[in-house]
Symmetry: C3
Subunit: 332 residues, 3 copies
């Protein structure tokens, strides 16, 4: 089959990732994963967390399995995180550098996927700049293979969402009393979308999306979140402040924000501004950070920052997801 | 020693790859491997094949060995196939990205090879765009190291030849009654050359090389094959139809074939055209495919297609070859 | 913390790499490592050497540890050497291609390092074109992580220094009676600096630094070495001749040496010139070689050459260093 130019994003993506018994077979989106499923994943991930300075947790639950990291968009940290997660579970890992791949020669995504399937890859970790690619692949691949979404256009980044949830739970406990402010380029952020989906499912008290008007999401997209364009209002009383990475090119297009310094003045999270937030508020960032643009450098390194904790939780969450989907496969 | 500008292709390449007892020490070409040797490799490879959806076959016969994949020409599928084959036998695998290597700094091939030898690499998997490189390396490396040719200019691609043979044998059994038509750019195809060598050794009934005249091989190169330039004639009664990848640049140089559509009309394998072939004829392609140029997309995905089976067999054949050459090494 | 533009090289780098008990925790430089420490490392490395053609030595002393190769400067041989060393000790290895990394997106070195630390990497192998980076990272990373310098600007390349020492000891025994001539671009050579530091500590009889005047080090930098600009004088009676790689661009800037042929005539090490050296003198080169520029090709392949032995020792030395620093970590 020829790979289409565009990939439909259908409402059944959420269903596609569960098997007939409601068990997780793929991870495409946090949308449609119920509270129970999310909490089970967070509990499983928590078992893979050990204190910094101690040995990384390991087991051999993926021994004999092959995991392929297929990144059609460049990435260091997410690729490294999945790589280590798979290796610490004993899997063989195939890292495909898609810049030097046959995709350059015009091979379709599906032919690449069918090739990996024929090589008996068990789990494919996919990052792609086009919306709908992970679900498209899932619909066209054999039943015995799991697809994990490692970042899909501006649509979804479910393991990032899970690591954000785990970090908030570790630092602040129950979600129902929390106010979470996500700040920055919401419109283009798969990180924000996955976080909001998870936070909503776990009953977060209030979710605020704070951005320049041009970078706000459509009003009806996340109806359970509050769209705001003033940072001070957005931070007031917040327990969690999540700064998003802003692309410098996007700042140039904003009305009334001529440059990065102005963006920092208006939407940069600083120690001083954080004083309006709740006592013990935490600051998060998915990385890589633009220090001095969306976040004050000293704040990123302060006790309020949960940023490196997020990275640690990223490996743990990916181990949990890899182990979870391997459990619905035929035993080796 | 300085690396020469050109590398002689000598008639003793075939002998070079066998040790004094006639055992396989290197795999440079299928030329000169006798029927028995080929059948032993196919039998060994068959043991590494398991049904899709079941766990990949593994053993630890290469535990403690180091395999270096040294690709001077970019490749995704062959590199990934050798990588997985080596890992599933327990080897340590070193993947060398030769674009960022010291070859850029002017280091000769031999110095790279001597460096890997000094690092106690046991098996080197070599792909190079220059004819004669694998044999040149074999002549200059220590006795205890095995060289495997993973694609050599337009000369040879022996593991591809083996996987083609294995696929045909799985689908159609004995070779003596078969008519095999190889279609496309024969002149520049290492895939065709290795296939023809293997098919000839196994006594294939009839081998046809079908191409535009400008892409035909020299008349005396493969005297046991029939050179043809009409696709309908070539397909008539064939049991196996192997489509070759055509480079778009080459089409532009063909007389009377102004564009890719015209190439497809004249030399593209389609469901309709396949009706002239034998009942139960199979269609093969080494990949990556140009769908709609050398092969009709729906045909590639049909029951007649053995294309993904070829990929599965590719890993199995490489495991068999790796295991075989490791058996003539000093035990660990 | 923002990564600074420049990195201080402080006198306490040597102390930084030892723990309170004087044990090696990091390897930043050979400066300050005493005779005992160097000899212990060489002895440990010697245990990891096995004859060419026999199996590589292995153990599982790094099982459960994660080693990240973080090369901000391209490298094939040093990267491959560390990769194999870590794998042969049973470590998980993360190879980071920093060209496709988030550093392109402006992330600071420290954020990359903190990310790897948060992923529970135990040992980071760093190559960087800026002086001071390994020590800067060491000062800013957690106590439980070891930093190994794999090449730092023109300042230091300690594992290269160790492999040079090991090679000389294997071929010639005791250092006190030896005359060692290092020839070529001394000024820009981290290889020369690390070699001189190690040779001096081990009490080498005479150390000569032979180069065109423009490529000589500052007179007071290595006071225990003799700066010379005549090759014949430099080689006279030498037991060890170490040729350094010269960058072609640098030749263009030399007075009175208009081209590479002239450089070869004046500073190239040849069989004939070596006749002035001691009987049984050995020739070394850190690689990759420019054959016919800094060294005669036939000499590089002669019995006097220890060049591939250096490569073998490179893996052994890196295994020794990896094992050594892992011994001061909390047990797994």
């Amino acid at each position: 089959m020829q790979t289409p130019e565009t990939f439909p994003t259908l409402d059944d993506d959420a269903i596609l990732q569960l098997n007939a018994d409601g068990k997780l077979r793929h991870l495409l989106t946090l949308k449609g994963l119920d509270r129970n499923c999310l909490l089970e994943l967070l509990d499983a991930a928590q078992h893979f967390v050990s204190p910094l300075g101690s040995a990384a947790v390991r087991n051999s639950s993926l021994a004999g399995r092959t995991v392929a990291n297929l990144f059609f968009e460049p990435s260091t940290r997410t690729r490294a995180s999945f790589d280590l997660a798979a290796k610490r579970l004993g899997a063989d890992v195939l890292n495909l550098d898609v810049n030097t791949s046959s995709r350059k020669k015009g091979e379709s995504i599906l032919d690449t996927i069918y090739t990996l399937q024929a090589m008996q890859v068990d789990i494919m970790v996919i990052r792609d700049a086009s919306a709908g690619v992970p679900a498209f692949i899932t619909r066209n691949i054999g039943d015995h293979i799991s697809i994990l979404n490692a970042g899909e256009a501006d649509v979804s980044h479910p393991t990032q969402g899970l690591l954000d949830l785990l970090t908030i739970r570790q630092r602040l406990g129950d979600f129902t009393n929390l106010t979470v402010a996500i700040v920055g380029d919401i419109a283009h952020s798969r990180v924000a979308r996955s976080a909001v989906q998870g936070l909503h499912t776990l009953g977060t008290g209030e979710i605020r999306l704070v951005s320049p008007p041009a970078l706000a999401p459509a009003a009806n997209e996340m109806p359970y979140a509050k769209i705001m364009d003033n940072l001070d209002d957005g931070l007031r009383g917040a327990n969690v402040v999540m700064a998003l990475r802003i692309q410098r090119e996007r700042i140039a297009d904003l009305d009334g924000i001529p440059d990065v310094d102005d963006y920092f003045a208006n939407f940069g999270i600083t120690q001083q501004r954080l004083e309006q937030a709740a006592a013990n508020a935490i600051v998060m960032h998915p990385g890589p950070m633009n220090r001095g643009i969306e976040i004050e450098s000293s704040l990123a390194d302060s006790a309020a920052s949960a940023i490196t904790q997020q990275v640690t939780n990223g490996v743990a969450v990916r181990m949990a997801v890899l182990e979870r989907v391997s459990k619905v496969m035929a035993p080796i």
